[in-house]
Symmetry: C2
Subunit: 156 residues, 2 copies
């Protein structure tokens, strides 16, 4: 049975993971998409290309974010209720891209492949026209975990 | 860059995976939760306990489901737009539980631990009072994939 995840574990899950799912809603449609992210004290940062999800979140910035992991026999899941904010201020935008870049380098063998050919880019590059940096400001965080008992399988 | 996932690959992703994320929306709130699932020709089946997500989906049955995997150097993601239907008819409910049970047995060492102490149960068990079997009827399926190039990492 799922149990409440303590606050320090919620922070740990948000800091240790790099992929989550973002849920947004506009015009009667709900949409769930996987996103890259990095968590810092201001919220979650992510980078994407303009498209359906950015259009939806511009219409309705109230979003839900979920991420989870498995470690030490515990499955841990965190849900964040938050607000989508597009980051256009040049210093914050640059810092967010640097945070994302630093966070992803140890995990993927080719960051360029993972995040698109124009990654990492620098403010002013013509390639960045379609790139959107956004922040999810946290309204509420909650978490659950489940401990797995590694017992032999017994059907029935 | 993300590319369109062919229809046969969409079916393959839905058949091969057992965990996805479900997005629902009610009263101005979007909610994303991980769920177990099994896919068959009628749609997706899942089992959960009554709670926030079932209350929300009873209010607004239009949902979005997402699942993804990584195989052969490709990251594949599928998004399903669908309708939540609670399964109460006894034969379909029993069959859905059997499908879920069969699907999970090879993956978890203790199904009882993973799905709760009352799993698997049989119709009529008093333990099943809080258990909800539901189906997501598919309105639309779409998929994307990305090929990873396993090249050495080069920062900057």
């Amino acid at each position: 049975m799922l149990k409440i995840l303590p606050a320090d574990q919620i922070e740990d899950v948000l800091r240790k993971n790099i992929i989550g799912r973002l849920g947004c809603h506009a015009d009667g449609e709900t949409y769930v998409i996987p996103i890259n992210f990095v968590y810092d004290d201001k919220g979650l940062y992510s980078y994407t290309l303009q498209g359906k999800k950015t259009a939806m979140m511009r219409k309705n910035p109230r979003v839900c974010f979920q991420t989870d992991d498995m470690g030490n026999g515990n499955w841990r899941s965190v849900i964040v209720q938050g607000v989508y904010v597009e980051v256009t201020e040049i210093v914050e935008r640059h810092n967010a891209l640097q945070l994302l870049s630093n966070r992803y380098l140890p995990f993927v063998s080719s960051v360029k492949s993972h995040l698109g050919a124009n990654w990492p880019f620098h403010p002013g590059d013509e390639n960045e026209i379609d790139g959107v940096v956004f922040r999810i400001d946290v309204l509420e965080k909650s978490g659950r975990f489940e401990s797995f008992v590694y017992a032999p399988t017994f059907p029935g």
